[in-house]
Amino acid sequence: MNGAQDLGGTHGHGPVEPERNEPVFHAEWEKRAFALTLAMGMPGGWNIDMGRFTRENRPPGEYLAMSYYQIWFAALEQMSKERGLVADEEIDAGHSLHPPKPVKQTLSPGDVAKALYRGGPTERETNTAAKFKTGDKVRAKNINPLTHTRLPRYVRGHAGVIERVIGCHVFPDSNALGAGENPQWLYTVRFEACELWGADADPSVKVSVDAWEPYLEQA
């Protein structure tokens, strides 16, 4: 979706302001919101792409006004409610009022280290051949889906070069919709800054994105 999350090349956000000796979390509630989000992945049954889509799928003014963990928490509440795991009146009451819905799996303390160490690799076996090879000239398609995509607007319609054939990976555009992993070949595509931003851009700058095959066409 062409939402506020797609920030590359937008103006007016001001300078980057690093914080000296920044703590990992800035408030107790951020810790809990972070941990709840990680722990609810198992019982919730959603995948990372559904999570990302839920976070970005809100009015741009809201998205930009919310802090990072506020966005995470709002998405966690929403996904929990959508799946019938919690109800509004329970959050208002601060207590469970209805019997729990059966869930496949929960995260026990004994499994935390193992689960984090395992992570969630996205590379998949394939018997298809990659359409592009290193050095090929490609163009990012001009697509504007209303649903989740990982092709940022600033590269759409622009020509670049395949720098690396990464492998076959879960396709977020499908996975976010619950339409299956639909693995696709993934490439690192390199663009000249002048191609992306025009003749005044810094000629010493190149930018790459990692793009799945359905995002690309021969240039």
Partner: protein, 210 residues
Amino acid sequence: MSGHDGHHHDHDHSELTETELRVRALETVLTEKGYVDPAALDLLIETYEKKVGPRNGARVVAKAWADPAYRARLLKDATPAIGELGYAGRQGEHIVALENTPKQHNMVVCTLCSCYPWPVLGLPPVWYKSAPYRSRAVADPRGVLADFGVTLPKDTDIRVWDSTAEIRYLVVPVRPAGTDGWSEDKLADLVTRDSMIGTGLAKQPKDIAK
């Protein structure tokens, strides 16, 4: 925020308190229903507050500086090379190491969200997830570097890596001069978090002299 806070604005308590209450309420409900175990939540928090952070990445970089065979393995296939030091897993399932040189400076961003190599750098700082960084890193990297007090020579090419998929990038900064023969432990003290994102450079020996 969607749905729930619009009608509370005229109350006394702050937005933060509202959020705090709401997070506490959801945690209680999810715990009572048996979906989450608070002890598991504590462990998740402890992991990223105390165990997993940029010190991990610094050890990787220091080893690459000190050990040419390790450097070669890291640049060829970073995930197993980083795994040799025991760092692996969530948000670091597929890592690529990018070596900075006097000719090319690499800088990493995620314009679409906050993708970051957790096993080697921990959780991202606020600025990395912020609109100013995500918007400008790809269009004006030299301007962003200036915000960090970094000026590169004009003839150094800049390469920006937008982490749009599940590949995570770790920058190996240029090894400072005057560090020949240093131990990996001592070298690791020169490696800052920002130098592994590409918004900073490694410290110089004089910066850590006691």
